[in-house]
Symmetry: C2
Subunit: 218 residues, 2 copies
């Protein structure tokens, strides 16, 4: 049986490797989980023992096949629960992360199958992130972070790659949500901030915000 702490480590390793690719460092995991590098080292030994990761001391870590399956399944559960919380219970998209972090650890394959049916097999969660299939496929989204677009490109916001309350509340304040049409007007080279147009209104956002907005060019 896998423990709650182990599940959180697998999830962290998956999340980092989806963002950066390649081997994952001890410090990166410590940072993601909010613990010490020493604790991570300890845990990596246990996960290695259980064949959930491939790990050589000082050389970084990657998920084994079974570890990846488990991690993707947790991600699937997280995103299905977020969809349930927003679509069925009426939560705001900025309020669901913490509860979903608890719900994702409930152990019952039957429950998730039925939840998926109840939600009518959603492909994307309320943040536009793809929900892995039961088979472990993560549908690709064909989107580009806003900060990588060229000036004068027009597109539509398909999702956000950060699930933090402050960030999502700020987007709401900017009138940015999924489906919003957006035009990139100007890139300021000094601080990499951007001028954008939304609903015929000009706005200015930082690079930190822009890089988490996923755009489909139209």
């Amino acid at each position: 049986m896998i423990t709650l702490a182990e599940e959180n480590y697998l999830k962290a390793i998956l999340s980092i490797s989806l963002n950066e690719g390649g081997k994952v460092s001890t410090n990166a995991i410590a940072n993601e989980i909010g613990t010490s590098a020493a604790s991570v080292s300890d845990m990596l030994k246990k996960l290695q023992e259980k064949k959930l990761i491939k790990y050589k001391k000082y050389k970084g870590v990657e998920l084994s096949e079974s570890g990846q399956n488990k991690a993707i399944n947790i991600l699937r559960k997280h995103r299905l629960w977020e969809t349930f919380l927003v679509n069925k219970l009426g939560f705001n998209w900025s309020e669901v992360h913490d509860v979903a972090e608890q719900l994702e650890h409930i152990q019952s394959a039957e429950l998730i199958d039925r939840l998926d049916i109840f939600l009518e097999h959603p492909k994307f969660d309320p943040h536009g992130e793809p929900i892995p299939t039961k088979e472990g496929e993560i549908p690709s989204t064909n989107t580009t972070p806003l900060n990588e677009l060229q000036v004068n490109t027009k597109g539509k916001i398909m999702g956000v790659s950060l699930d933090e309350k402050d960030f999502l509340d700020y987007l709401t304040k900017l009138n940015i949500t999924i489906g919003t049409e957006i035009t990139l007007l100007e890139k300021i080279s000094f601080d990499k901030s951007l001028s954008i147009k939304i609903a015929n209104t000009k706005q200015h956002i930082s690079n930190d915000v822009a890089k988490h907005l996923l755009i489909k060019i139209s």
Copy 2:
């Protein structure tokens, strides 16, 4: 903050005192939780420390007001989740206990408020057991265990007081479910077993089964 283990102890103490009344013994708790009396003794000290129980060594234990509030809230969550699983996800009433035992520990008052609304404020769970209100009231049901009825009494099954798969599956096999009309035909004094009539068919059940069937006399 309250831990998962602590929640399970509070729940066990509540459950025993609802069934038997009065002080709860160390052994009864050990038995309910499936652990050793030594572990229970240890934990009682911690719960006492946190003012969740009233406890004197060797003298049994009862919940404090705050302990009782917490325990009733867990019971409320358990029964709301069971209702969700059966009414919304289509689980059978015999399949939901284990999953609800996990879900009852999710920490979010907002989640339970919204779930209650989503389910349209149910008063009873799929086993006919009353769902405590947000304020901690447990509605009384005015029912009698079948084995306490007098011979030739007619009534309707309003609920069951045991949530175990084997038991519920057996009831289903007997064509017994909530709402079923039932007549007590005969009590066998030798083994306290009962003859009953359901849908014009005579059947015979043990006292162990009968005592968990809650009847409203008609």
